[in-house]
Assembly symmetry: C2
Amino acid sequence: MPVASASVSSVSSAASPDSGQEGSPAFSPLYQQIKELLTRSLQGGEWQPGQAIPSEMELAARFRVSQGTVRKAVDELATENLLVRRQGKGTFVASHAEARTQYRFLRLMSDTGGVPGLQRRLIGCRRQRVGADAARALGLRSGDPVVEIRRVLLSSGEASGETPVVLDEILLPGSLFKGLTAEKLSAWKGPMYRLFEAEFGVRMIRAEEKIRAVAADELQARELGVALGAPLLSVERLSFTYGDKPVELRRGLYRTEHHHYRNELN
Amino acid sequence: MPVASASVSSVSSAASPDSGQEGSPAFSPLYQQIKELLTRSLQGGEWQPGQAIPSEMELAARFRVSQGTVRKAVDELATENLLVRRQGKGTFVASHAEARTQYRFLRLMSDTGGVPGLQRRLIGCRRQRVGADAARALGLRSGDPVVEIRRVLLSSGEASGETPVVLDEILLPGSLFKGLTAEKLSAWKGPMYRLFEAEFGVRMIRAEEKIRAVAADELQARELGVALGAPLLSVERLSFTYGDKPVELRRGLYRTEHHHYRNELN
DNA sequence: GAGTGGTCTAGACCACCAC
DNA sequence: TGGTGGTCTAGACCACTCA
């Protein structure tokens, strides 16, 4: 009699050691089912970013399983960065507001070692119709409204004052980001993903990037302060929320004379 | 009385529920100690790549802990790709020979989607003295012997026949790769890391990469078949074996007109 | 001191594999 | 059929946090 939760009673085919009902084709362990249920609660907004979810004991009682089973489910969600465990305090919904997860998608590093201090300069933010390629990536119909943000990130701690390092071009589905304006963007202090999470309820969970070397065109050269044809790192990012739904298409052009993109391979 | 193993009896300060000896400054859970012991056995060559390690029950008996504790240690080593679990068969030492872990450090993808079929062309392989920068990265003394390998990877499935895609420059500590010659390299079929593992007992565990966009110089342009100054992706990789010991410094220059570097952010 | 997550145990049964 | 890893349980105690 596993997972006799009120919310979902049709998960089927549990591996409980006492109940029958085994042998069906789509077998999945109990803790996976719990994980799925927890994910739905996160997705549905039952617990908000930064808030604590019920304790392991409470969840175990709710789902009619042992604490260890809940534990394994929560463990996986924690390694996927959906939850954050804090000993003695509780388990919390991950948020881009925390220092640990701020800028966790930004892999730019200064050649001298540390994380570069970056200032933002907004170039533009306007609503428009999406092109065919971007529509496909974002799962939209060609011509659907999108918000396009263009901005430059400037390295502040350089010897030669402020030099532009990144030119970003960000595309967001208009339906999800209704009140997003240039004013709101420039007024906001802190990570952009924090704004998305707090104002529009859109949390970025994971992302895929395609990286290339390209030659700067005229516009890019001007905005980044490099020569026409100078080599730039092109980082094309597709970000996903809950349920692997794509919600952001971003292209960053990086100057890499004094910075680099850092990656770890495991 | 945990971890009363014959090999190491001085691990100290266990969290066993029955024994005393707690409260010392450097506390580490039992499963971490087990993990450390297993890592040493791997490092010392007690079990070879591809071979099975003792079963969980055997290990539990050896270390005088419960199976669950061994399990947690093995779990972590499996997620770190040092071990591979196979249900019903056993737990095995990870090897670059397996399909799952072949080319797991190569992030190059074809723009059309799949993993590109690549042919190798060896340019050179010679022994020389290491420069200051590379020495620092590899933890060597300036002037120590190193093996330098240069090669080109060519995309085979292209419309325009074979076009060069990657120019690799690989630096290996001479002390570890004594019999490595151009003949051996060209004779070898399969991943290079498989050769390193099988012939020299050097297994790459993880790596760090710094990625930049650079302009092709004259030599690079010729070997990759691009114009002088063309933008290339520079991928500088430092690879590590057991104990986080650096054992390879590699620089790859990628043509990215029809390929890209793929990355996942979590 | 009460409550949280973190570790450890002992024992049961299930899924998978090889002989 | 027996051995392996995989799941699940129930209960104990430890480490941390906060009132």
